[in-house]
Structure formats: C-alpha cells, structure tokens
C-alpha cells in the first residue's frame, strides 16, 4: 500500500498554484491519471520517485517512510526502486538499446525478455538517434522495467505508438506488471486507452 499526503507549490503562468494529493494506492494496482496540462501530474509522479521534494506531507510505502517533511525523512530517488517513464523519454544518447538495459540491470535473461517484449531485439545495437519515436518510447518503458521496480510511474508512455503496437505492448505489460506485482501509475491524455486495464483513476483539476 502506498500512502500519499503531500503539498507542493507549482509554478504557473498566472501566479502560484498548490498541488495537494491525499490518496492511497493498493499494492499491485494500476491507476490512470488524467487532467489538464499544468495541473501537476508530472510533478506528482516525480515527487513519488524522489526527484522533487514536496513542501509538506508524507509518502509511505508499506511500512517504510519515503518522505516525511515533519521528521525530515526523504529517501533518495536511488533507494526508492521506482521505474520512471519520462514524457520526453530521457534516453541516453551515448548508449545503445542493450546498453540502456545493461546500465540498469545485470540480469541477462531479464534483458533478453524485455527486448522481446518491446520488440527491440533486432535493434539492440542501435542508439536512440537511430530509432523511431515509437521505438524510443518502448525503450524508455523497458528501461523503467529493467530494475524490476516496486512502483512504475509512466508519464504519457504510449503517445508515440500506433494503435496496434499500443494494444500489443499493453497486453505484454499487463503480464509483466502482474507477475512482478508492480504498483503502476500512468499519466495519460487519452484515458480511454487504459479502459479495461487500469483498476483506479485519479483526476487532477
């Protein structure tokens, strides 16, 4: 169970806005998140991952406190074991597809399975510059899964995929996420694409 109760100031064009989240996420659940641009969806994911520090509140994962502003607890991003799919992919230009996964894990069998899952096994030696947008996005998803994370945070993870590839990838992801019992949060501008998969939804105003 993830227990989140945080406050974080957001920079907005028309002055300042405060992101307030008070929410629980069951272990292994899949939550789709949607709402207008600038409502703090990405900020929320980054706060969970430890990449942004909220001003107030707590984040507890099972019995472990990841963040507690009052007690000055803030577990670094490196120790949270979250997988993060960035909206702009954030792939490493100097690394090939395989090197991305090898940077994250030494488990060769897992790397092989991920490459097959993302249909990138024939492009292992390619660097991001030589991949299409959809291939780059799939690599970003595979990299996030490479560490077998406890929580998977995905920011618009399917925006560059065609409908067929999206459906196939979601099918595969379902299996892996269920197998590893990963709690998953997915930000999407098209929440219908997650119908029948996500158990919960969260709307940002």
């Amino acid at each position: 169970m993830i227990n989140v109760m945080i406050e974080k100031k957001l920079k907005a064009y028309h002055g300042q806005q405060v992101l307030r989240v008070n929410r629980q996420f069951a272990t292994g659940s899949i939550t789709k998140i949607y709402g207008p641009s600038g409502s703090g969806k990405t900020t929320f994911l980054k706060a969970l991952a430890g990449l942004i520090t909220p001003e107030k509140g707590i984040i507890r994962v099972d019995a472990v406190s990841w963040f507690n502003a009052g007690a000055k607890i803030n577990v670094p991003a490196q120790k949270r074991n979250t997988g993060f799919v960035f909206q702009q992919y954030a792939l490493f230009p100097n690394m090939t597809v395989k090197q991305h996964l090898e940077y994250a894990t030494t488990d060769e069998a897992w790397i092989k399975r991920l490459l097959l899952l993302g249909k990138l096994d024939t492009l292992q030696e390619h660097k991001p510059d030589y991949l299409s947008g959809g291939q780059q996005q799939r690599l970003a998803i595979l990299r996030a899964l490479a560490t077998k994370p406890q929580i998977l945070l995905m920011d618009e993870p399917f925006s560059a995929l065609d409908a067929k590839m999206k459906m196939e990838l979601i099918m595969e992801l379902k299996t892996v996420i269920k197998e590893l019992n990963i709690t998953t949060l997915i930000v999407s501008h098209n929440p219908q694409e997650l119908d029948g998969w996500a158990d919960e939804e969260m709307v940002f105003e």
């Binding site: 980054k46 991952a49 430890g50 990449l51 670094p76 991003a77 490196q78 120790k79 949270r80 074991n81 979250t82 997988g83 993060f84 960035f86 702009q88 954030a90 792939l91 490493f92 230009p93 100097n94 940077y103 994250a104 990299r143 996030a144 490479a146 560490t147």
Partner: protein, 223 residues
C-alpha cells in the same frame, strides 16, 4: 635553432591541460548544479583571468609567491617549493590563467543537457558519480574536447603572466612566446619568425582539428 622554448611551451601546455581536466571537470559539474550567490561569486572569480590584463595577474602571483614573505616564504620553508622564476610557477600561473577556458565550455555543456537524463539514471539506482561518469560525461564529449584544446592553445599563447612570474630563464621558464619577444629585442627577426611560425602552425592545426571533429558532432566549437 634552439628548440627548447618550443618543447617547454608544449610541456607547459600539456601539464596545464591535464591538471585543468582533473580539477576543472568536477568543478564545472559543481557549478552547473543549482545557482547560489556563493557559486555566482566563485564563477565571477574564475572568469577574472578572461578580462584582467595578464600582467596584473602575474604581478599578484609574483607578490603572493615571493619567497621573501607570506605564502611564498611558508611554501619555501615548509615544502622547499618555490613558485617564482621556476617551471612549477609557470604551471601554477597557467592553470589559474586558463581556468575559464576549461570550466566555461564544460559547465555550459552540462547545463544544456536535459535534467531528465540524470533523473532517469537516479531512478535506476545510480549514484551521482555513476550518473556523471556514464551518462553526463559521454554526452558532452565535443565540449570536453573543445575545452581541452582551447586550454592547450591558450597556454601556448601566454605571455604577460608567464613573463611576470617566470622571467626568461633558458630551459626553465623561457617559453616560445617569450623567446619571440627576446629575439625581437635583439633584432633577430629571423629567429622571431621561426618561433612565431611554429606557434602559428601548432595553434592552427589544433583549432582546425576541433572544428573538423565537431563538424561530425554537428556542433560548432564556438557554441
């Protein structure tokens, strides 16, 4: 023709570039992260050699490291090291004088990388050092090369600062730029021309190499 000033110049430029690579890299990384008043002041200080007359810098270094008093005296007494009129003095002056040429391009390159690159690495459990070594550093290679070559070339061209702290001792502190000056003073224009041509050729090859390398990286070294 006495080639020792040329070798001394190349040795000085090589050592200065190596030292600045080791010192400048972590320093540029530190400067590229966040922005505090303290960092702004430090950045202003290391930029000073760009605008300060080299003779002014050389004069203050001469005062600071004079073996007669203060820091220079202490260094001489405790470590038996003398920075005035010695090769190590030239190295120290060159390192200080060329700091902005090494730190500036590297810092700008690090700041231009998207912050999500480092963030992605952190979420994979990597430390800041691992992130710097395996993600950030390989992605600023062209700027790293530009910084190293600019530092090397700038050290080749030093005159005022090395003259002030090193003088013109043959084989010890008489670098090529000073040899040119000495030759002109003695009206030996042929010798001055020889040294000048060699310096010109080395610098030109260096600069053109960077332009050619960066052409393939689709990046101008002046950016």
């Amino acid at each position: 023709m006495d080639l020792s000033p040329i070798w001394l110049t190349l040795k000085l430029a090589g050592i200065t570039t190596l030292i600045l690579l080791f010192v400048g890299l972590p320093f540029a990384w530190w400067l590229s992260r966040g922005r505090s008043l303290f960092k702004i002041i430090i950045e202003a200080i290391i930029t000073m050699p760009l605008v300060l007359p080299p003779s002014v810098l050389g004069f203050y270094l001469l005062l600071a490291f004079s073996p007669r008093h203060g820091l220079g005296k202490w260094l001489q007494e405790v470590f038996d090291v003398q920075f005035v009129f010695s090769f190590q003095g030239l190295v120290l002056a060159s390192v200080i004088y060329s700091v902005p040429f090494m730190v500036g391009p590297i810092k700008s390159a690090l700041q231009q990388l998207p912050s999500t690159l480092a963030e992605a690495s952190y979420t994979l459990g990597k430390t800041e050092w691992q992130t710097f070594r395996y993600v950030l550093l390989p992605n600023i290679k062209p700027s790293l090369l530009t910084a190293a070559v600019l530092t090397f070339a700038h050290t080749l061209g030093e005159f005022g600062v090395v003259l002030m702290i090193g003088g013109s001792i043959p084989g010890v502190t008489r670098v090529a730029s000073i040899a040119v000056y000495d030759a002109v003073e003695q009206r030996d224009y042929a010798m001055a021309n020889n040294y000048s041509l060699i310096l010109f050729a080395i610098t030109f090859v260096l600069v053109i190499s960077v332009f050619v390398f960066n052409k393939y990286q689709a990046k101008s070294p002046l950016v």
